[in-house]
């Protein structure tokens, strides 16, 4: 038996919550949900969670979608479906809302799972791993599941250690000396520290292992109460009194000084996380062969630069400190500290700096693009300038508090 097929994992079904609208990422989320937002050139945000599943040996995954899920559904079906083998009882499938009676969105993360409890009834797993499709991190879920089994808990919550001063922005978990969870604090003014470590608090990562029966019982009870129907707010707190709710410390596999776990929730945090990827020593390492991040493979030609006229005024295709995806052609233009998605084209004398260009973006001759996120397929016309005059940019585009210009899909410029 190969290492990736450990018996305990045969009893686990993963449920990935991928219905997030990502309002604060608008306009990147105008035509797609947050998990489908492109990140790092060739990836979508959900690829990081799905890669964690695959690398952890989990092969049974429901992806719960709802908001503008066409692009996500296609990505999962084409990009991930073929590597799961139905004959071996492996699968990954997107599950849209069933809309039994009321034509309404899920009322919360717990409602999303509860509305799909029939799936658990069919699968009958012993354990359910609940994940968010919105986060970027590397984690071996198998280790967490092992710890859950050893502790005898009804549910286990993954928690990342954060300095107390920074924990107020998150859901904080209070624990006792045995890592039993004693309380949940939502964006607390004074976060509970870890016992014996007054400088450090535990933050809820939205990664949960449940005994299936305990989960269904808690969801069924919650459905009858007037709550927010949210895992962090309602379901997990309802299990605190059982004394069988444990925290599991996040072991980062990214091998950097600080553990990396990001909720890429805003345009500015998206931009910062993207710029981190092009740093010489990025906080998040995409190049670790021990924990590969995979995505939908596309049969594209290799990236290419053309024109090497290094004399003044010559055409020079050059790319520095950047991520360059397949199919890109930098033809006589200059690119620095940027992420170029698949099939981007940068034409002669154009200059792109500190920007994220998604699939198929075309930068016209002599155009300048600085500190911008340009969504799929946008054509920047010849001599057009983005990111040099904030007032001008504001008239036409979204400009973030951090001063990043966002040009959505379908924008026509002249």
């Amino acid at each position: 038996m190969s290492e990736g097929r450990r018996p305990v994992l045969d009893d686990v079904v993963a449920i990935v919550m991928a219905g997030g609208q990502g309002e604060r990422l608008y306009p990147l989320t105008r035509d797609r949900g947050k998990p489908a937002v492109p990140f790092g050139g060739i990836y979508r945000v959900i690829d990081f969670t799905l890669s964690n599943c695959l690398n952890s040996g989990l092969r049974r995954i429901h992806v719960l979608t709802q908001y503008k899920s066409g692009s996500l559904e296609r990505h999962v079906r084409i990009g991930w479906g073929p590597i799961f083998h139905h004959e071996l009882d492996e699968w990954i499938q997107c599950v849209p809302p069933q809309l039994r009676v009321e034509q309404r969105w899920y009322q919360g993360t717990a409602d999303a799972v509860y509305q799909n409890v029939y799936l658990l009834d069919q699968d009958r797993p012993r354990l359910v791993l609940v994940l968010s499709g919105d986060h970027v991190y590397k984690m071996d879920y198998a280790k967490m599941i092992e710890a859950h089994e050893t502790s005898g808990a009804l549910a286990t919550v993954a928690a990342i250690e954060v300095p107390v001063g920074e924990a107020s922005a998150f859901g904080v978990i209070a624990v006792d000396e045995q890592s039993r969870i004693t309380a949940f604090q939502e964006k607390p003014k004074s976060p509970a520290p870890i016992p014996g470590r007054p400088e450090t608090a535990l933050v809820n990562m939205g990664v949960y292992v449940f005994e299936t029966q305990a989960l269904v019982r808690a969801l069924s009870a919650d459905a009858k109460r007037e709550t927010r129907h949210d895992f962090g707010h309602d379901i997990l707190p309802s299990l605190v009194d059982s004394g069988r709710l444990h925290a599991y410390p996040f072991h980062d596999l990214n091998n950097k000084a600080r553990p990396y776990w990001r909720d890429i929730g805003t345009l500015d945090s998206y931009f910062e996380a993207s710029m981190d990827l092009v740093a010489v020593e990025p906080e998040f390492n995409l190049y670790d062969r021990g924990w590969p991040i995979r995505t939908m493979a596309r049969p594209l030609p290799p990236a290419k630069t053309v024109f090497a006229q290094e004399e003044p005024g010559g055409r020079l295709g050059i790319v520095l400190d950047s991520i360059v995806s397949p199919g890109v052609i930098v033809s006589g233009g200059r690119v620095e500290r940027s992420i170029l998605g698949p099939e981007v084209r940068v034409n002669s004398y154009a200059k792109v700096t500190e920007s994220v260009l998604m699939d198929g973006v075309d930068i016209g001759r002599h155009a300048k693009v600085h500190r911008a996120i340009v969504d799929k397929g946008v054509r920047i016309p010849q001599s057009f300038v983005v990111g040099e005059n904030e007032e001008d940019d504001r008239k036409r585009f979204t400009v973030t508090p951090g001063g990043v210009v966002v040009i959505p899909r379908g924008t026509l410029l002249d």
């Binding site: 009676v101 009834d121 069924s220």
Partner: protein, 121 residues
């Protein structure tokens, strides 16, 4: 006075439950199949529903899901001749599960407990 909706396809049982629950002081309305039961919930606004699971027209668990979708806090007692439905996660949405027996003692006692709890809560 609390109103109970009984969804039961067997005519004799329907009459028995109606008679016994009325004797306990409740107003009882009945439906002989699931679609009729789901419809009556909207019209009669019962305080509690007693329902069979094997029903004509629609599975009782499905019908309960539809009712609870609109009225999540309405107490539901599943009343089945079979105990095996208790394994179904969908049945866990019910407030009580009663296996049919020769008398209505257990059913009536669960109904009373739930309505008392509802009145108190």
């Amino acid at each position: 006075m609390a109103k109970i909706l009984v969804i039961e396809d067997e005519k004799n049982l329907r009459l028995l439950y109606k008679q016994d629950l009325e004797r306990d002081g409740y107003v009882v309305v009945t439906a002989a199949d699931a679609p009729e039961g789901v419809r009556l919930v909207e019209i009669e606004h019962p305080d509690l529903v007693v329902m069979d699971i094997r029903l004509p027209g629609m599975d009782g668990l499905e019908a309960m899901g539809r009712v609870l979708d609109r009225h999540p806090r309405l107490p539901v007692v599943l009343n089945s001749a079979y105990s095996s439905y208790q394994d179904s996660f969908m049945s866990w949405a019910a407030d009580a599960y009663v296996v049919k027996s020769a008398d209505t003692d257990e059913l009536r006692s669960r109904v009373r407990d739930l309505l008392d709890a509802r009145a108190a809560g």
